[in-house]
């Protein structure tokens, strides 16, 4: 026989299995019989190989509806789904029967998951910044480090560096210089009614758009910004400026002097980019705007002057960093080459580097994620606690199931299924909550988050993962406990608490929850205190009731006219023309040379320009010498105490009458007075050495001290007078205290977030505590009854409930306090001027936790304690 050498081959086994599963049992025998017989016939006729491939057709021919359709069943054939359906039925009934318990569970989980979803969305939003550029791994920004006594970091670079990098090195495929600044006055000359806007404008080289993915929707990519006096704008700006008209060919005017023709329209910027300029104009026009900015000076760095590089694929950023010292040597003298050091910053780092103007440090995002994890853990802990407390109620069910032959594993999976049901409910609820609170969160944080589950694969994966983790974390322990009940004991009703999982484990879980809540509470209190301190502490100058107005034109006689116009208003108490307020994000920081010393000092001095009213308006305190004289011809300086110290002098009197020369237009003058130190930036930074001098051309602002009574009319009077002097500009005002509060924007964002999530954690904890105490009260009904009959007082019974939680709470505090101290001390390191974490904070934290715990526990325990013992003891 041809097939004698190979073993009589049987058709694939799994096909039989498939058909066994699909075919109604009454025809299975003939079908399989037919298939096998045919197969053997084929083997004999055509060989194994052909028979096998033919077998497929045979099997497929059976897969038709008439085969699947079952006749009315004579017997029920239980399948695997029947038992699953039973599990879900029981689960549904359990959820229904213990409504309060289920509600607490679902709510707790939902809140935790909501927190996790929001945090995930927020973290993902921040991590997505500037990741959409195709070449994102090769795009770098050049930044400057000033190495003096201390290292200072600046995102800006000297203007000529772009050219130098192009000419001297071959690292880069593309280099683009961009000078951007916010609050430019942009007007449209063709519009009939004089339209004026304040917008962010950037002078950019065309290469910028070859590197970064900001696609054009109108205009030619090859010619945009190549010619002088051309501009491109985003869709949004085009719509805002020109309405329905075609933006191409329209003119815009910047700062009332430079005119640009729009030659292209960019697609609207994605929300996740830090490049927020929406108007780009030819870089070659920078010299028309400001000659110093566009000049070839390597000295000094203008904020907003950026240099972006697209490195060649085979060039490592470290190679470029290694070449920078050489570049410094070439363009600076020996001393400055030490000071000016350039570094590459990857574009992915820009959003996260606070030293270089990044919005949020990555460690804050991780801290936030950790809080999210905490929320999930507390929610799971709740679940475990309540589920194990409830376990005894189900002893009978488990006993019966076990007697009927359920195995441990099956029971375990039953409870997992129940957990899955509750968790899924919670997840759906959480999703709804997250969707509905998102607009508020966006408003609170001033961002634009979206939750779109169908477009966001990561979110979907995250949710599924979360579901799985929560189910496993919260379902497995109660499941193990319940599946392990002894059926005999369970049926006799002789199971006691000690069988339902050690009480110590539940205690441990409650302690965990308390630890998390207290960590968050202490964190909230510390941050709140520091924020209050930053806002309210004496900064060394008056910041209340001061309005800052812009001074767009600084030429005489406009400026004198302005001065007299404003000062004649009744509610204006004092006013000063100045570069900026005493505390501001820094205007100029330059080199300084003291007295007859030949070397410049080893530090930079901060310069503020202000007229003779600067000191009285801000109420600065002179501790030596006199104020500046109201003259612009003789240069005079006031310096602060720090500057005195840094000049190496001990007494303020020593410096009076000495000359200094600063690196701003090489101004040279006499020190006429010393002011007491005041905070010149946020509390994140130390007070810098500083000087104040008069100079009309640096007066960008006017600080007006007003009488706070009748504020609205004062403001409108200011507006009227201002507009009279500067009819071609847009009136704006800022309150100084609000401007200063803005220093702490990132901090207050973190504060608001931690507040929200701490509240969620506390609410979840309370829900769990409430559930637990209700259960305890039910368990102890008899005990309370007996005690009352024997004469126990109300307080002693309350103590019965209270002592347990008090002990746990104190234990939690002992764990949480040092941890919180350490974490918050780390956070406070960000501030040079900061609060001390005192005993008061910890006392407040534990008091708050106690109060919350007592409020939660009291209702149930008082009710239990007040119950009539007759009711509880009558039934046995």
């Amino acid at each position: 026989m041809a097939t004698s050498d190979c073993k009589p081959d049987t058709p694939p086994q799994w096909v039989d299995k498939l058909l066994e599963w699909l075919c109604p049992p009454e025809i299975l025998e003939e079908v399989l019989g037919d298939l096998h017989e045919r197969y053997y016939l084929r083997v004999q006729k055509e060989g194994v190989k052909k028979a096998r491939s033919g077998y497929w057709r045979e099997v497929l021919a059976y897969l038709r509806p008439s085969i699947f359709r079952r006749k009315s069943l004579q017997y029920s054939y239980p399948t695997i789904t029947d038992m699953l359906r039973n599990y879900f039925n029981i689960a549904r009934r359990n959820v229904y029967r213990n409504k309060a318990y289920s509600l607490i569970n679902v709510l707790g989980l939902a809140l935790g998951i909501t927190g996790a979803i929001l945090i995930f969305t927020l973290v993902k939003y921040h991590l997505s910044f500037d990741t959409f550029h195709t070449e994102k791994d090769r795009i770098y920004r050049v930044t400057t480090e000033f190495h003096q006594e201390e290292i200072a970091y600046d995102q800006g670079v000297p203007q000529p560096i772009g050219k130098a990098l192009r000419d001297d090195y071959t690292f880069a495929e593309k280099i683009a210089m961009v000078y951007s600044n916010s609050d430019w006055l942009v007007s449209i000359p063709s519009a009939e009614d004089d339209k004026k806007f304040k917008e962010a404008v950037a002078f950019a080289e065309p290469e910028f758009f070859d590197m970064l993915d900001f696609p054009l929707i109108q205009g030619d990519k090859n010619t945009i910004l190549t010619k002088p006096n051309t501009a491109i704008v985003t869709e949004r700006i085009a719509e805002k400026f020109f309405g329905d008209q075609n933006p191409i060919g329209q003119m815009i005017r910047v700062h009332n002097k430079l005119e640009f023709r729009v030659t292209g329209v960019l697609r609207d910027l994605p929300i996740n980019t830090d490049r927020r300029d929406e108007i780009y104009v030819s870089y070659s026009n920078l010299k028309d705007h400001n000659e110093w900015l566009a000049g070839d000076s390597w000295q000094g760095v203008a904020g907003g002057m950026h240099c972006f590089m697209l490195l060649k694929p085979d060039v490592l950023p470290s190679d470029v960093d290694k070449a920078f010292p050489e570049l410094s040597k070439k363009y600076y003298n020996e001393r400055d080459a030490e000071i000016y050091q350039f570094k590459l910053q990857p574009i992915s780092d820009i959003h996260f580097n606070p030293d270089l103007g990044g919005y949020i440090a990555k460690k804050n995002l991780w801290a936030l994620s950790l809080i999210g994890l905490f929320l999930i853990i507390t929610a799971c802990v709740n679940f475990i606690n309540l589920a194990t407390a409830q376990a005894l109620r189900r002893a009978k069910e488990i006993g019966v199931r076990k007697v009927l032959g359920s195995k441990r594993g099956q029971l375990f999976w039953q409870f997992i299924a129940e957990t899955a049901l509750i968790t899924t409910l919670a997840l759906v609820l959480a999703f709804v909550i997250a969707q509905s609170v998102l607009p508020y969160l966006n408003q609170l944080l001033d961002i634009q988050l979206q939750i779109n589950i169908f477009q966001d694969v990561y979110l979907l994966i995250f949710l599924l993962f979360l579901l799985l983790v929560v189910i496993v974390l919260s379902g497995s322990y109660p499941g193990l406990i319940m599946a392990g009940f002894q059926p005999v004991l369970a049926l006799k009703g002789k199971l006691s608490q000690k069988h339902a999982g050690g009480f110590s484990l539940r205690r441990g879980l409650v302690v965990t929850q308390f630890v998390i809540s207290q960590l968050l509470i202490i964190g909230t209190i510390v941050i709140a205190n520091q924020m209050r301190y930053s806002r309210q502490a004496d900064m060394g100058f008056t910041k209340d009731a001061i309005v800052m107005l812009p001074v767009p034109e600084k030429e005489e006689p406009t400026i004198s006219a302005f001065d007299s116009e404003i000062s004649q208003l009744a509610s204006v108490e004092k006013l000063t023309l100045c570069s900026d307020a005493p505390a501001s994000e820094g205007w100029a920081s330059v080199t300084v040379r003291y007295g007859s010393r030949t070397e410049i000092e080893n530090f930079d001095i901060t310069v503020k320009a202000g007229d003779h009213q600067y000191v009285p308006t801000f109420n600065l305190q002179l501790i030596a010498g006199r104020n500046l004289l109201p003259s612009d011809t003789v240069r005079e300086f006031l310096i602060n105490e720090t500057a005195v110290r840094r000049f190496g002098k001990h007494s303020p009197e020593d410096v009076i009458g000495k000359k200094i020369q600063i690196g701003l237009n090489n101004s040279k003058g006499t020190i006429v007075g010393v002011v007491k130190d005041f905070h010149n930036t946020s509390f994140h930074e130390a007070i810098a050495p500083l000087c104040i001098t008069t100079s009309t051309k640096w007066y960008y602002n006017c600080a007006v001290k007003i009488n706070p009574a009748n504020l609205p009319s004062t403001l409108s009077a200011l507006e009227t007078s201002w507009k009279e002097v500067f009819p071609n500009h847009i009136f704006e005002y800022n309150f100084l205290d609000e401007q200063i509060a803005r220093f702490y924007e990132a901090d207050s964002m973190i504060f608001r977030l931690i507040q929200i999530f701490a509240s969620i954690a506390i609410i979840i904890g309370c829900l769990g505590l409430y559930g637990l105490i209700s259960f305890m009260a039910a368990q102890k009904t008899k005990e309370v009854g007996v005690r009352k009959v024997l004469g126990a007082s109300l307080p002693s019974i309350l103590w019965l409930f209270g002592q347990e939680f008090t002990r746990l709470l104190i234990l939690a505090f002992v764990i949480a306090a040092p941890l919180a101290w350490w974490v918050m001390q780390n956070w406070l390191e960000n501030f040079i001027y900061r609060i001390e974490i005192g005993v008061g904070i910890f006392a407040l934290a534990i008091a708050a936790t106690f109060l919350i715990a007592i409020l939660t526990v009291s209702f149930q325990s008082v009710r239990a304690a007040l119950a009539n013992p007759v009711d509880s003891l009558r039934n046995e």
């Binding site: 025998e29 003939e30 079908v31 399989l32 019989g33 037919d34 298939l35 096998h36 017989e37 045919r38 053997y40 016939l41 033919g54 057709r57 045979e58 099997v59 497929l60 021919a61 059976y62 897969l63 038709r64 008439s66 085969i67």
Partner: protein, 113 residues
Amino acid sequence: MRRSDLGEFEEVVLLSVAVLTPQAYSVAIAEALEEETGRTVTTGAVHAALQRLEKKGFVNSQMGEATSERGGRRKRLFTVTIAGSRILHEVQAVRNRLWNRIAPSSLPKISFT
């Protein structure tokens, strides 16, 4: 609901049952049809047709003996019922009548070589 007409495939299956009785079952019928038509015929198709025929009352079935090639499984044997016999005769009569009415010249000639 119950269609009492006869599809083409059903017709040849029913004829095959008549031919193969008393050993008419899916595999035998499929083999016979393959031999006759030269095309592949799956037992599944035959089985489905037989099910339909049984539902229409043209065949009866009972379980037969088991063989080793079938893995010890029994086969279902089919016989033609009176209704089945009637419908076969009807179909044949219709065909014959139609054949007889064809004029000698109207069918294109084909040669059997």
